[in-house]
Structure formats: structure tokens, C-alpha cells
């Protein structure tokens, strides 16, 4: 398609995705507690507040803890599952795989309500481990997707050669499969981590205000009093996400991690 059409399309999408962030970034710089854009001055005090006010940094620490452990759980489910799918023929593996992919085929609010009901029945509603486990299972889809792509791209002749040379399954996994899928594993971990960090409705329904995560805190502020701190936090969130995805892009080949094929 002609060049101007492409440029217009790219400009439209980039402007659409960035416009809200530009306003949020501007609002975060207001010296007074107002939400003006353009800001009526320049101050970084709200970024200071984000790090010094326990009302904001405690939820931030909670979110980081939840995201770390949830991403570890997601990866711990996805790695053996995708490996068995690729390496063996096991009847029920397909069903397990379907469960791993299904959360993204459900309206998120239903997953959240399911988590709420589960933890009420198990009588641990409100405890921190509930959100970690529910996030972990919900976000398994992401490492499962990247690892499936990774294993698809792995040349089976390599594995065949190793087997011919007498390598056992364990050795093949350690020396060929694992090193090969490591960037896909890292990408899957990062996707799950960042999405857990930002996830609202499951966190709200499992732990709510007893183990407040940052999105739950922001939502509360959204209803009971806007503040430029929210804008500062939002900017920091976006910066963290961009930094992590850029890192993934630097370490691995982002187009390939997202499903483009081998040809450069």
C-alpha cells in the first residue's frame, strides 16, 4: 500500500495508544493537587509521594510480590505442559492444554467470580496466596503461548541426532530443549509478570482491600478522590512495562517470540 497511507495508519494507532498517556504524564507534573492538562507548572513531588507515602508504596510492594510469585507459578505450569505436548503423545494432555488456554476465552469477570467462589469454599478468602494462585493459573496462557511457539521453531532433527547419539530424555531436555526455549520462557515470565502487576478484577475479588494491590488502590482513589499521585503511578507502571518488554526485545527476537516465523 502506498507510503502515505501507511504513515497515516501508523500515526493514528500510535496517537491513539499514546494520547491517554501523554495527558496522564502531563497531569502528574502539576505542582498543586489539581488535575490540569497542560500542567500549571512543573514538579516531581507526586513521584516522591508515590515512594514515600505508605498508602501508595505498600500496595506497590504487594503487587510486585504477587506478580513475581504468580509469574513463577504460571511458568511452572506452562513449561512441563508445553514440553509434554511437544515431546510425547498423551491423551489427556490436550485437555490440560485446553484448560491452560481457556482463561483468555472467558470474559475476565467470570474468571474472577470463579476465583472468589473457590476461595470462599476453601475458606481462605482474603489471604495473599489466593490472588497469587489465581493469577498464576489465569496467566498460564501467556508462557504457554510463547513456549509453544518456541518448541515449534526447534528443529526436531537436533533432538533426533542427540537421541541417536544415546542421549536420554533428561539429557536432551537439559542440553538442547531448555537452552533453546530459554528466551521464550523469559518472555512468557515477563508477560505474566506485567499482566499480573496490572490485573484488577481477580485481585479485587480474591483479596480486595485486605491485601491491597496497586490497581485496587488506584481504583479506590478513582472513586473516592482523584490525585496526581495516581497519574505519577500510572506513568511509572507504563515505564516498567516498556522497560521490561524492551529488555525482552533486546535479549530475544521479539517478532519471533510473538509468532513470526524464522525467516528474517
Amino acid at each position: 500500500m502506498s507510503r502515505w497511507l501507511r504513515r497515516a495508519m501508523f500515526a493514528l494507532v500510535v496517537a491513539y495508544l499514546l494520547a491517554p498517556l501523554v495527558v496522564v504524564a502531563g497531569v502528574s507534573l502539576n505542582p498543586r493537587q489539581v488535575l490540569f492538562f497542560p500542567p500549571e507548572g512543573f514538579s516531581l513531588r507526586w513521584y516522591g509521594t508515590a515512594f514515600s507515602d505508605p498508602g501508595w508504596y505498600r500496595p506497590a510492594i504487594n503487587s510486585l510480590l504477587v506478580a513475581t510469585f504468580a509469574a513463577l507459578i504460571a511458568v511452572s505450569i506452562a513449561l512441563p505442559l508445553s514440553y509434554v505436548m511437544w515431546r510425547y503423545r498423551v491423551g489427556y494432555a490436550k485437555a490440560v492444554m485446553a484448560m491452560g488456554l481457556a482463561p483468555f476465552a472467558l470474559p475476565p469477570v467470570i474468571t474472577a467470580l470463579g476465583a472468589l467462589a473457590l476461595w470462599i469454599v476453601l475458606q481462605s478468602y482474603g489471604q495473599p496466596h489466593t490472588v497469587v494462585l489465581s493469577h498464576g493459573a489465569f496467566l498460564t496462557t501467556l508462557p504457554l503461548a510463547t513456549l509453544t511457539v518456541g518448541l515449534q521453531n526447534l528443529n526436531p532433527q537436533l533432538v533426533e541426532a542427540a537421541r541417536t547419539m544415546g542421549a536420554t530424555g533428561g539429557t536432551v531436555f537439559r542440553t538442547i530443549v531448555f537452552p533453546y526455549v530459554r528466551p521464550y520462557l523469559l518472555a512468557g515470565f515477563v508477560f505474566a509478570f506485567v499482566l499480573s502487576l496490572n490485573e484488577y478484577i481477580i485481585a479485587y475479588m480474591t483479596v480486595g482491600f485486605t491485601f491491597e494491590t496497586l490497581p485496587v488502590k488506584i481504583f479506590a482513589s478513582l472513586r473516592y478522590g482523584y490525585s496526581p499521585v495516581m497519574a505519577a503511578i500510572s506513568v511509572l507502571f507504563f515505564a516498567v512495562a516498556v522497560a521490561l518488554f524492551a529488555l525482552v526485545g533486546r535479549v530475544g527476537d521479539l517478532p519471533r517470540l510473538l509468532g513470526a516465523d524464522e525467516r528474517a
Binding site: Y16, L35, I77, M85, M99, T141, A241
Partner: protein
Amino acid sequence: MSAPAARPGSAPAPASAASSGRGDGPWPHVLLAWPTVALTVLFLVPLGIIAALGFFRRIQAGFFEVAFVTDNYARALDAFHLERLTVSVVLALAATLVTLLLAVPFTFLLTRRPRARQVPYLVLVLASLSLSEVIVAFAWSLLLSRTSGVSNLLVAIGVMDAPASWSPGLPAVLLAYVFIALPLAVLSLYPTFSRLDQELPEAAGTMGATPLAGFVTVVLPLVRRAVAATGALVFIFVLGAYVIPQTLGRPAQWTMPVQITDQAIMKNHLPLAASLAIVLLVVSSLIAVAIVALGTGRWPRLALPRRAR
């Protein structure tokens, strides 16, 4: 981002090292033990509980008691909730349509660029996708507000006389829906589009087709399945959003997720929330299947990953 590689029609003949299944010993089952237990307990059992919960009786003192009553479903299907359901579906369909109109040409043009040039756009798309719905709602409420919104810009260039507030309301909800759906759609279309033969549109051009005609007659038929699957994915994702209609919408735009969360958390009526969730699940699945059928011209088979073996 549901398994880019697992979408039917998107994967070329996959490489696999699958063994015959005989003589593997206990290893596959040992490896599968944790994923099976974890996903069953954390995904399947909760769905089962919701399905049962819809028939339980709410009790004032606690959450619910085991029973078999149909009151909850009667209420979930009353005139008020059916109107909410209709509003939810119409809003989600509108957002899906707008999203596809943006995402399909954008992703196609993006995948025609050299790989290295794509990376910054992919990072932006990924970062936008991961942005919390809460932050998205906050950002759009600012962008559409009187004090800090785009209307000030339009006043400055003389298009409008006075700044206006466009949030909460229908435009705010739709704009934010498309905002959360666009990155998901781009990432879902990306694998198929990037595997399209680079030379196809050029060939169409050589044969005399205009770029647009080449895109419509050559490219679109090849990506129909992926576009339909993406439409279904986006529809379900938007239909399940809670914060956006709750924060950016007026009561007229309060969708099923708002009602479900309201019943589950504020009104402490889990059985009604569960029956509403089941109604939403059934309707959303049926419409998602219809979207895929509409896009591909035939009814989808069970949506299991194609490369599963």
C-alpha cells in the same frame, strides 16, 4: 494474546518431536501432574462451583447454602438484566468492529516492515496491552474531562467555543474499549500476518490491482480465519471488562460485569452473581462461535489448538 501459534490456520506444518507414546514410561504423567492438578483446581473447579452456585440459596448471615432453587436464574433473566445483557453485547460488538477496522490494516502494514523496524511498535503494543484497565479508565476520564481533556485543544484551535466534558458516557466507554482491545487484536493477528508471503500484495500490484484491491481480494481471503478468531477473542475480552463501563459509563452503559461484581461484592448475593455469570458465559460463547462462523463461512470445530497432538 491467546496462544498465537495455536490459532487454527495460523501455523504452518509444525515441527514436532512427538514420540509414539509406547515405552515412554511414567515421565509424561509425572511432568503433567502439577499442571493437571493446578489447572483443574484453579480453573475447572471454580467454573463448576459457579455453575452449582447459581442454584444455591443466598442466606443473610453468610454467603449461601446448598439448595436447588431457580429464583436466581429467574432474576438473571428478568427484564432489567436482559436489557443489561443486550447493552453489553451491543457495546462489545461495536467495539469489536471498530477494533478490527483499525487492527487489520495496521497489523498488515506493520508486518510488511523490516523486523527491526517493527520492534518499537511491538513494544508499544505490548506495554499498552498490559496497562491496567484501572489506569486506562483513569487516563480516558482525564483525556475526556473538561479541565484536562482534548476539548481544551479543540477550543484553542477554534473548533469549539467552550471546553466540554465527554466522560462519563457512551463515547468514553467505546473509546476505552477499543483502546484495551486494539493491542490484543494486533498481537492476535500478528503471527498469521507476518507469515503471509511478502510478495503476494506486490504480485497483485504487478497484475494491475490497486493496493486496496490487492489487499481486499488477495490478502483478506488468506487471513479470514485469523481475523474471525481475533474478532471472537476481542469480543469476549471487551464483554468481560468491568472497570471501564463502571467508571467511564453512565448507568445506561453499566454492563453485565458491573451487575455481576455489584451482586458478588456490594450486595453479597453470590448465587445471583453466579447465575448472571453463567448467562453471560453462554451468550458470549454462542456469539463468539457465530463470529467465527460468519468470518470463515463454516461452524468452528472444538477450538482446540491445531498443533495439539
